[in-house]
Amino acid sequence: MSAAASAPASARLPRLLSSPRALLGGGLVALAILAAILAPVLTPYGPNDTDFLAILQPPSLAHPFGTDDLGRDILTRVIYGARVSLVVGLVSVLASLVVGGIIGSIAGYVSGWTDTIIMRLMDVIFAFPGVLLALAITAVLGPSLGNAILAIAVVNLPVFARIARAQTMVVRSLDFVEAKRALGFGPVNILARSILPNIAAPMMVQGSLLFAAAIITESYLSFLGLGAQPPTATWGNMLRDAIGFLELAPWMAWFSGLAIFLTVLGFNVVGDALRDLFDPRTG
């Protein structure tokens, strides 16, 4: 299965890598990752350094994105904000991918009541609009970065579980899995060694697309005050702060929103490209 799938994918790879779209997406993602890793090197200011002599300064050479109401350098906060967005995206998507992948593949492999119960539970999570469920979870557990990650992971869980289940149902009837079963291998071994590696590609593609959605949801939670708490710089809470100063300092709203837009655009383009690579029918 994996060999069959990877042969045409590898044939499509060079064309995909040279497409302007993929280059743009990859470039934007690389930019966000580099900003997050190299934050302290890229800027002379700290994200929470206040300068009361430089409050609400418009963009200038000293502060290319201007300053906020506490005199903090907006460029610095945008760069540090990348850390929060990427960490939330990565951890929440990985958590839902691993948990959703495991429970979805168990549902698809075991079938029967286990499948019914697991998938009905996933349907219940799916019955809530994503943002609302994330909001309700963080409201109950309290606003924090960790709870925002947990909330986003729960929201994305059914997506991965459904994909894992559908893929497992295809793979479990393939000859090599039947052969392992006939040889007496147990379900844990078959799931871990034969099924999970073969359903990894579509899960990763979905993961890259949900990465973008996770960044947006985190920014919504932060915007509402339910994500990482001040003074931690996040793109969402920067935009929230900007609302009170739209007339006086519109630049406060420009750059944090632009950072979310470009990063999400990058992940969306990369996700689309990966999907075209592994499943050209949907392209």
Partner: protein, 322 residues
């Protein structure tokens, strides 16, 4: 023939309704647990810190709070089914009228956003498909990618900056009921509807384009062209009509997502709907309102998905007869 259709449709409808029962049960359990999972006593969560001992005792009895969770759940459900959603900790008002008061502004906003998205998405998607691989197609795909990647709150803020601050044409926030002053209602509605409609438009446009591309390859479209029918008739009467089914499905799904999206849009524009009510209640730790608002929104979401299923079964004769 008609009876067979009707019979099939009724059977499918009953099947869908039955399949909703476990989901609605699950949703109610999750909402029930919301308040129970808050650290500390749920009585404090439901009544606030300053509740009188009498009020505490009454609440304990009404929700069976000294009994096991299963009994508590049944008591809670019984109250819900009689329209008793509890009282707001903050205002002391009953939750149900609060929710009903906020529902109408939310529905106006959701409908307007859907309308905005259709006005943008359908023509753009059809043009992109009929002019495949041209500059118009590339521009339309770029537009949809941008729409999908822009967080709605940023769109909202940019619209306020442009249309309320730089060109003071439209109000930045607030709500006027349509019965009070229709003109002012509409001017207040424009910016939130565009904000919420943009992401929706992007997804519908993508779907319109891909479905139209598929339909344009079909034999009946080729036949319509061969008959010498005008291009416009072929596109809108033959191709687009058949491309509608997946588009309707997506609109239904997206309309449900709009109910989640209103939380952000209503907060930015101070639109007094369910979304703003939920956020305000979260910050006021007004858990009866949070619980009621989440339950109502999730219930609406499930209901809209059901209506979508029914609509596309009616629209597509193949599904009716299958």
């Amino acid at each position: 023939m008609f009876c067979a259709w009707g019979g099939n449709l009724a059977r499918q409808l009953v099947g869908r309704l039955v399949s909703l029962i476990p989901i609605l049960f699950g949703v109610s359990v999750v909402v029930f647990l919301l308040v129970r999972l808050i650290p500390g006593d749920p009585v404090v969560a439901l009544l606030g810190m300053e509740a009188t001992p009498e009020a505490v005792a009454a609440l304990r009895a009404r929700y069976a709070l000294d009994d096991p969770w299963a009994v508590q759940y049944l008591a809670w459900m019984k109250n819900l089914l009689t329209g008793d959603f509890g009282r707001s900790v903050q205002s002391g008002r009953e939750v149900l009228p609060l929710l009903m008061g906020a529902l109408l502004p939310t529905l106006w906003l959701a409908l307007a956003a859907t309308l905005v998205s259709l006005l943008i998405a359908i023509p753009t998607g059809v043009i992109a498909a009929t002019r495949r691989d041209t500059a118009a197609d590339a521009f339309a795909s770029l537009l949809s990618l941008f729409g999908l990647s822009m967080p709605s709150f940023w769109i909202g803020v940019l619209l306020i900056l442009l249309f309320s601050i730089h060109l003071p044409l439209l109000p930045a926030s607030g709500y006027v009921a349509p019965g009070e002053d229709l003109g002012r209602f509409l001017t207040h509605l424009v910016l939130p509807a565009i904000t919420l409609g943009t992401a929706l438009a992007a997804a519908i446009m993508r779907m319109t384009r891909s479905t139209m591309l598929e339909v344009l390859q079909a034999d009946y479209v080729r036949t319509a062209r061969a008959k010498g029918l005008p291009h416009r008739t072929v596109i809108w009467k033959h191709a687009y009509r058949n491309a509608q089914i997946p588009i309707i499905t997506l609109i239904g799904i997206q309309f449900g997502q709009v109910l989640g999206g209103v939380v952000i849009t209503e907060t930015i524009f101070s639109w007094p709907g369910i979304g703003k009510l939920t956020v305000d209640a979260i910050f006021a730790r007004d858990y009866p309102v949070v619980q009621g608002a989440v339950l109502l929104t999730a219930g609406l979401f499930v209901f809209i998905n059901l209506v979508t299923d029914i609509v596309y079964t009616i629209v597509d004769p193949r599904l009716r007869l299958s």
